[in-house]
């Protein structure tokens, strides 16, 4: 099977429009920064929601991540891609929130799912099976300890490198690897009943 590269799929620093916007934002141009927010908001919100699991909190985290990014923009190296940086900020805020005492008081009700699974689609799984597999995976992700959920999200979904994840969460690369490994094993076990035929189809569908 094809492996993913560690190179983030994010906007490359070479994107001249993005670099221009960031330079203007560094100079205090809020219109430029607003456009930066527009470009990255889905990703940032997605990171936050996957970790904190509640829309209201994810919204707060996303806003706060952009605000912190703006406040630290002066130190941002324009030669680097912005997406991993803002994702790291969001992930850090999200994990800190979930660890906080007040977050523990707002535990999710059983069966709660903020992220409705998209039915159908063009993925490796199809139809009913795919929908069910998503629901099972969704629940399994919600049950993961937040540290594992964050590492899994940043790697599997956002495709950050181990180094970037370690930096974002203030942990060692070894810890990233062990948390990721535990998370993946739990998730694999949860969706295993769906993976036999799915994996077979995935081989055929792999782009």
């Amino acid at each position: 099977m094809e492996r993913r590269s560690t190179k983030p799929v994010s906007v490359a620093a070479a994107d001249p429009v993005e670099a221009d916007l960031l330079a203007k934002a560094q100079g205090g141009n809020l219109f430029a920064f607003e456009e930066i927010v527009r470009r990255h908001q889905r990703r940032v919100y997605g990171v936050a929601l996957r970790i904190v699991r509640r829309h209201e909190v994810a919204d707060d985290v996303a806003q706060e991540a952009f605000i912190r990014a703006y406040q630290s923009l002066a130190s941002f190296d324009l030669g680097r891609p912005f997406a991993p940086w803002i994702c790291r900020i969001a992930a850090n805020l999200a994990v800190n929130h979930v660890r906080s005492p007040e977050a523990r008081e707002e535990a999710l009700p059983e069966g709660h799912a903020e992220m409705p699974a998209r039915e159908g689609g063009s993925g490796p799984l199809d139809g009913v099976l795919e929908g069910e597999a998503r629901r099972v995976l969704q629940r399994a992700m919600e049950r993961l300890p937040v540290e594992q959920r964050a590492v899994f999200t940043l790697r599997a979904v956002e495709e950050l490198s181990y180094r970037e994840i370690a930096d974002a969460l203030g942990i060692s690369i070894g810890t990233v690897m062990s948390r990721l490994s535990r998370a993946r094993e739990k998730l694999r076990e949860a969706v295993l009943p769906y993976l036999g035929p799915a994996a077979a189809r995935a081989r055929g569908d792999e782009r």
Binding site: Y70, E102, P116
Partner: protein
């Protein structure tokens, strides 16, 4: 056969192994179907996780950039602000708010239970001035929202302290006017406005200025009236006991609060956010109409996509064309989300590729992101 490599499969999948180790794992995988299958399963889990939808309520992503921006510096208003009719509506609202307030001056303060349904929100100092002075800008949906109480936590307090202080400040006693340089997208702004605000261009500067001037006039009138009223009201409130003053706060905030707390603005309110004041009025009307339209069925979603495409074709030379073209792609994506029909996915790909092929595509990254979302 070499030893199983299950403990390294994740790092192998992520291409994070040192090259010698990677070669060893590769070698093992060629001869061990068990490890190879395990690797397939790990990869399938990752892929499945990437297909989990992350969809907040309608309108969320339309309002978030503006809300972030407002928290960084509450914007007086943008050149591409609401059209004049919203000011008329705001003026009506102003009267609706002020009339009972003024009447209260000569009546005993009514019990709090009479207050209209007040959306919970942070306490606002100098309520009379605040609610009055804010009314015109409340017509804009992209304002900071009053967060629901269950979402209000200690971290919020910290955020508010750090950066939200501006949001919490009472509104100035006069209504701010557009900052120089932002009102018309003049020469100094041309570069960024090309990226950010397709409606703000030199070609449209005159119209924008007219709108800004008209709004300034109305704002000044409203401010003068607000000032007069707030002075009256301050007198009334000063005469009341402190308890009564507390109950008066939500009452005076009430008319404005729902607009602020509802970032997923209803279509009617959302249409006010349409970049205005710069394009041909017919185009603007069509743009706003499409922006307000919501698809409830697959057919409606497809019809909406066609309508955006038609608008994009018709306004090819308009400064707003890029945004409209990008919205057409978004509509195609929304259609596919709705239907899950592979033909709609093909339509989306076609639209997206056509957009990306343009040299003047300013929102290419967003479109690429959409493609990635569906190509996973």
């Amino acid at each position: 056969m070499s030893e199983h490599v299950l403990d390294r499969l994740g790092a192998y999948l992520d291409a994070e192994l040192p090259s010698a180790e990677e070669a060893a794992v590769s070698g093992h995988l060629r001869e061990c179907p068990q490890c190879a299958r395990h690797l397939e399963e790990l990869g399938a889990v990752d892929r499945l996780a990437r297909t989990l939808a992350v969809e907040p309520g309608q309108g969320y992503f339309e309002s978030l950039p503006g809300r972030v921006r407002d928290r960084l510096a509450p914007r007086p208003k943008r050149a591409s602000g609401p059209p004049l009719w919203t000011l008329a509506a705001a003026a009506a609202l102003l009267l609706a708010v002020l009339t009972p307030l003024t009447l209260r001056q000569i009546r005993p303060v009514a019990p709090a239970a009479e207050a209209p349904r007040a959306a919970p929100g942070p306490p606002q100092p100098t309520p009379a001035t605040l609610s009055v002075a804010r009314v015109p800008s409340e017509a804009l949906p992209a304002k900071p929202i009053a967060r629901a109480p269950e979402a209000k936590r200690a971290s919020d307090a910290k955020v508010d302290k750090e950066v939200g202080a501006l949001v919490m400040q009472p509104a100035p006693r006069t209504i701010p006017v557009p900052r120089p340089g932002t009102a018309s997208g003049g020469a100094g702004q041309a570069g960024i406005s090309a990226f950010v605000d397709p409606w703000d261009t030199l070609a449209n500067a005159r119209h924008a200025e007219e709108v800004a001037a008209a709004r300034k006039r109305q704002a000044a009138e409203a401010a003068a009236e607000a000032q007069a009223r707030s002075l009256e009201l301050d007198g009334a409130v000063a005469g009341a006991s402190s308890d009564e003053r507390d109950t008066a706060t939500p009452r005076e905030e009430a008319p404005a609060a729902p607009a602020r707390s509802n970032f997923a603005a209803p279509p009617a309110a959302k249409s006010a956010s349409a970049p205005a004041g710069s394009i041909a009025s017919g185009t603007e009307a069509r743009y706003k109409a499409l922006l307000a339209r919501r698809a409830g069925t697959a057919d409606e979603a497809r019809a909406l996509r066609e309508a955006w495409r038609a608008l994009a074709r018709d306004v090819a030379q308009d400064p707003a064309a890029d945004e409209i073209r990008e919205r057409a792609v978004e509509a195609a994506a929304e259609t596919y989300r709705f239907t899950g029909d592979p033909r709609d996915l093909d339509e989306l790909r076609r639209d997206a590729e056509a957009y990306l092929a343009r040299a003047d595509a300013l929102r290419a990254e967003r479109v690429r992101e959409l493609l990635r979302e569906f190509d996973r």
